[in-house]
């Protein structure tokens, strides 16, 4: 492997003055709260999303309890009525996508990883980065506050289809309260926060890479985060406009989505899904990046098909903008349009097949070790395959007539999102925790966490494919009104799913204990505990403010494992001699 190293112009080496580590002792506030250090901001995003996953999980527990035991008061919560049920279903979706998946995978790990992986001291605009987090924090507070306003939180489904969500004229009066307005505001603010964060991700990666770090030597995870940021930025704009229109419909009495004044309720669905489908890839891509790093490290092999993966990702990113209407096959759009969207949807499986197969090929003829991060990473692939395969069902528009809005859909997207967010997030946390805390996580607790999560996750959602096939539709408080859907078999399956949920939740406790305990009592990690190649492992663990004492230089790509000519099976990016 021959590469020419081209040195950066001189000015790159000169960092602006405000990047210098502060020498006077920083106060608690400037160090932990209003910090501009990318690692502290990442930590803040990470902690917030863990708090929110607990909230979202609790909501799921409450409404799943109702499905398994209709009418029985929920332990730790109490009695639930259809309005609370709708509210909780809505907020569960909103929280898990916007307040867990995005902040954890994109914001937290984007912030953690980009500066050290490209060999720089911090983000291009540290103050903007801090502002991004605090905007996000305000949106979190608004969202949580909406539970406590008169009328309760928003309950019109996380997709917020008008006219139901624009109740000024639909008069669905139990949601006329502040809850819906707060929901829209919170989501819009959150988007603004991520747009601000996105500026940093993109600008930092483009203009602050270490000397020698060409685009084709960039770790795959950085590529993935940058592409995800781009997808997010190009898809979210129309939804922001659409949300403003929805808010005006609610508070000012305009009629953008009101058929009575000539408005079109379907318009919002287009806004929503034009964003909503690319959003799926915004969440998926960072995890695919994690997998690239973790698979190579623990199979001691180079990434299989770096360029193939990269090309496929760009193709998938492009395709993701022309598949959105597959969420609307039965919404009353032109049937010929559906044929087009059905074909693009099935086509998008091709680039992802390339990526997943390449990742699997990375394992072949390697020397595979199975510590906890690798287990979770393998879990992502094993479970995501089920989610991907069931996506083929739903992409077929004719089958979607039957399956749309049934539990089949619910099970399908949980089989994509839980591997990606929960398994992928856990894999990344287990893998990079030693770097950013400086101590190793406990392997025994980690393995308990993995096996408990993997087993009971399937126990929740495999039965739901079945109930969906039986015709049970989602967002239903009780099936009493539908005798043929309310069969004992369907009910028993719902009980199995709920039991699975409770058990899976219990198996997250070892994880939380592990996170807290290992921060103090874990084995010290050292600089490079996994013997990995990318630049972040050149820093101390945890990296000090500014990450690197001197500007590192990059001599090769980050996947130099198992070279035939060497006794050592890895060669870090920053080491000069071959």
């Amino acid at each position: 492997m021959i590469e020419t190293v081209v040195h950066a112009p001189e000015e790159l080496q000169k960092e602006p003055a405000h990047h210098e580590p502060e020498h006077h002792p920083a106060s608690f506030w400037s160090r932990y709260v209003f910090s501009t250090d990318h690692k502290m901001i990442a930590m803040q995003y990470c902690v917030t999303s863990i708090v929110m996953v607990i909230v979202g999980g609790f909501l799921a527990y409450v409404f799943r309890w109702q499905l398994a035991h209709p009418g029985v008061p929920v332990p730790l919560f109490g009695k639930i009525d259809p309005n609370i049920y709708n509210t909780f279903v809505t907020m569960h979706g909103t929280i898990m996508i916007f307040w867990v998946a995005m902040p954890l995978l994109l914001a937290a790990f984007g912030n953690f990883l980009i500066p050290p992986m490209i060999g720089t001291r911090d983000m291009a605009f540290p103050t903007l980065n801090m502002l991004s987090y605090w905007t996000f924090f305000i949106s979190t507070v608004l969202l949580l506050a909406s539970f406590f306003v008169p009328g309760g939180a928003f309950g019109g489904g996380w997709t917020a289809y008008p006219p139901l969500s624009a109740d000024a004229y639909a008069r669905t009066d139990f949601w006329h309260g502040l809850g819906g307005d707060l929901w829209i505001l919170a989501v819009a603010l959150e988007f603004v926060a991520f747009l601000m964060g996105g500026i940093n991700f993109l600008v930092t990666t483009i203009s602050m890479r270490a000397p020698g770090l060409t685009w084709m030597r960039l770790p795959m995870v950085v590529w993935m985060i940058v592409i995800a940021t781009l997808i997010f930025m190009f898809s979210v704009g129309p939804l922001i406009a659409g949300a403003v229109m929805l808010l005006l419909d609610r508070v000012a009495g305009t009629g953008f989505y009101n058929p009575a004044t000539g408005g079109d309720p379907i318009m919002f669905q287009h806004f929503f899904w034009f964003f909503g489908h690319p959003e799926v890839y915004v969440i998926l891509l960072p995890t695919l990046g994690f997998l690239a790093e973790i698979f190579t490290t623990f199979s001691r092999k180079p990434l299989f098909g770096y360029k193939m993966i990269l090309t496929s990702t760009w193709v998938a990113a492009g395709l993701s903008f022309i598949v959105w209407a597959h969420h609307q096959f039965i919404a009353g759009i032109d049937p010929r349009m559906s044929t087009f969207f059905s074909i693009t949807t099935i086509l998008i499986s091709v680039p992802f097949a390339v990526i997943i197969f390449s990742l699997m090929a990375t394992l072949f003829q390697g020397q595979i070790e199975l510590p906890t991060p690798m287990l979770f990473a393998l879990g992502v692939v094993a479970e995501f395959l089920i989610g991907g395969v069931t996506g083929i069902y739903l992409g077929a528009s004719a089958f979607d007539i039957y399956a749309h809005d049934t539990y089949f859909v619910v099970a399908h997207f949980h089989y994509t999102l839980i591997p990606v967010v929960i398994f992928g997030g856990a894999a990344a946390i287990y893998y990079w925790y030693p770097k950013f805390v400086g101590r190793m996580l406990d392997e025994r607790l980690g393995k308990i966490h993995f096996w408990g999560t993997a087993v009971f996750f399937n126990m929740i959602f495999l039965p739901l494919f079945w109930t969906g096939m039986m015709g049970q539709h989602r967002r239903i408080f009780s099936y009493e009104a539908f005798p043929s859907l309310n069969t004992p078999l369907a009910h028993n399956l719902q009980v199995v799913a709920t039991t699975g949920l409770i058990l899976m939740a219990l198996f997250q406790i070892p994880f939380l204990i592990n996170l807290v305990r290992s921060a103090r009592h874990g084995r010290p990690a050292g600089r490079n505990p996994w013997k990995a190649n990318s630049l972040e492992w050149a820093c101390e663990s945890p990296p000090p403010h500014g990450n690197f004492p001197t500007q590192p230089e990059v001599y090769r790509w980050p996947y130099e494992y198992g070279m035939p000519d060497s006794a050592q099976d890895f060669r870090p990016q920053w080491e000069a001699c071959p």
Binding site: M1, I2, E3, T4, V5, V6, H7, A8, P9, E11, L12, A124, F125, L195, G198, I199, L202, V203, T204, I206, S207, M208, R209, P211, G212, T214, W215, M216, R217, M233, F234, S235, V236, G237, P238, L239, I240, A241, G242, V244, M245, L248, A252, G253, T254, G255, F256, T261, G262, G263, D264, M267, F271, F274, P302, Y306, K307, W557
Partner: protein, 187 residues
């Protein structure tokens, strides 16, 4: 792997960030304009409503914004020559252009409301007020940004910011170039 090594060039972070901001704004306005166009096609009768907007005043405002964009360009050139007096003058002119635009716009609004066309008197008017209102908000933001840049540039500080503020101002101008024919002229 044989990765070809590209020359390592550094794009100024500030300009890159400004393009990013503009790109995200373009998709926001793009979504709004697309929604308006789709509704406009379904409602040919809006042509009659568009009669009630004042094309002469709209045209005047277009001229005002275009000239203010010109003075933003001149300010940028002056900044490159480090001609502080001219930078100050041209930036002030740009801000003045924005203010003129807002005054004319306020006059139009009050005239339209006087004739009974409020944001809730129909979908066309909802779109009209939303799109022009959002644009006017951007004009205000642009003026504030220009003003902050002006304060520094007077003393010769942060002269590269003149270019950033100018870029943003051109974008605001460009949005208006789209809105004007859509809301005023297409009848």
């Amino acid at each position: 792997m044989t990765s070809q090594t590209v020359p390592f060039d550094r794009v100024p972070a500030g300009r890159l960030a400004m393009w990013w901001v503009i790109a995200s704004e373009v998709v926001i306005f793009g979504g709004l304009i697309a929604a308006y166009l789709l509704d406009r096609i379904r409602h040919p009768e809006w042509a009659a409503l568009a009669q009630h907007t004042s094309t002469p005043l709209g045209a005047l405002n277009t001229m005002v914004l275009l000239s203010s964009s010109l003075s933003a360009v001149l300010a940028h050139q002056a900044a490159q020559r480090h001609d502080l007096a001219k930078v100050t003058r041209y930036l002030s002119l740009t801000i003045l252009g924005g203010a003129t635009f807002l005054v004319v716009k306020a006059f139009e609004y009050s005239n339209e409301i006087h004739h009974g066309f409020t944001p809730v008197s129909g979908l066309f008017w909802s779109f009209y007020y939303l799109m022009t209102g959002l644009h006017a908000t951007h004009v205000v933001i642009g003026m504030i940004a220009l003003f902050i840049v002006l304060l520094g540039a007077r003393k010769g500080l942060h002269l590269h910011r003149v270019e950033m503020a100018g870029l943003y101002w051109h974008f605001v101008d460009l949005v208006w170039i789209f809105l004007f024919p859509l809301l005023y002229v297409a009848k």
